[in-house]
């Protein structure tokens, strides 16, 4: 696993300071959506070999939620962005 994460607020930090929530690309379905759509959203996860976007929380540091884009195979980290910024840019 990528062992050093470049937190946009705190600088380079070891992965032990973070906790990982999981896939950041999921979109919450409409409340009236089918059971199947909700089942997919809640339970079904892909396990890609390669690029992956995840929510990480810097619990021991700035306590902010971050979106980490990394490669699960080469352990390379492509980008780390504050999740609030990702959300703001996504809704624009």
């Amino acid at each position: 696993m990528a062992s050093l994460i470049h937190c946009p607020h705190c600088g380079v930090r070891p992965k032990e300071e973070f906790s990982i929530r999981g896939d950041a690309s999921l979109v919450r379905p409409d409340p009236e959506a089918s059971d199947e759509a909700w089942n997919d959203y809640v339970h079904i996860r892909s396990n890609p070999r390669g690029r992956y976007r995840e929510h990480w929380q810097h619990g021991a540091g700035c306590r902010r939620w971050l979106v980490v884009e990394r490669d699960t195979f080469t352990h390379e980290v492509f980008s780390v962005t504050d999740a609030a910024i990702v959300k703001r840019e996504g809704s624009r």
């Binding site: 705190c10 380079v12 070891p14 300071e17 619990g59 021991a60 700035c62 306590r63 902010r64």
Partner: protein
Amino acid sequence: MSRTYISRHPLDDLLPLEPGIRAVDHLDIPRSSAIVSVMAMDGEEASVTAGLAASGVVSIRFTGPGELLAVSQSETPESLHRNLSLLLAETAYIVDQSDGRVVFRLSGPNVRRLLAKGIATDLHPAMFEIGASSNVLCGHISVNLARTGENEFELIVMRSFAVALFDDLKVMGREFDLSAGFSVRV
């Protein structure tokens, strides 16, 4: 029914009342410090930082974006809280943390080697400058680390973790014959 509460330092039972022989590397623990957390309102981060820097009386510790700790050794918790509330009334939320945090002051030539046993962050003088501060993981405990002098660091930790951190620091400092004691009151 009225109750009397006695203010106790969490390390009262672990440290001698009288200061002992002070080694080159020393862990100094102030009996009381005034600490408040400052959380900037949305969009006011820059003006809060500027306002605190202009006031000049407190030392500022970075904890997160828009979130700071203000520490003062000279003021009482009540007066620090009152002063900052007046200063930043329209721009930030101020909450007193004095009883909830414990301050550890490490000084000496071997302090960086001592801290390297628990902290993975780069503390080289050129990377972590005097006045720099940040939340870091020390062992398994999250602390706010600040560099206050050439070879001086201050750790601010949650009160309930103080005993565990103190034990860790003692083990980390054994190699350097680290001494520990409460601050001598002036």
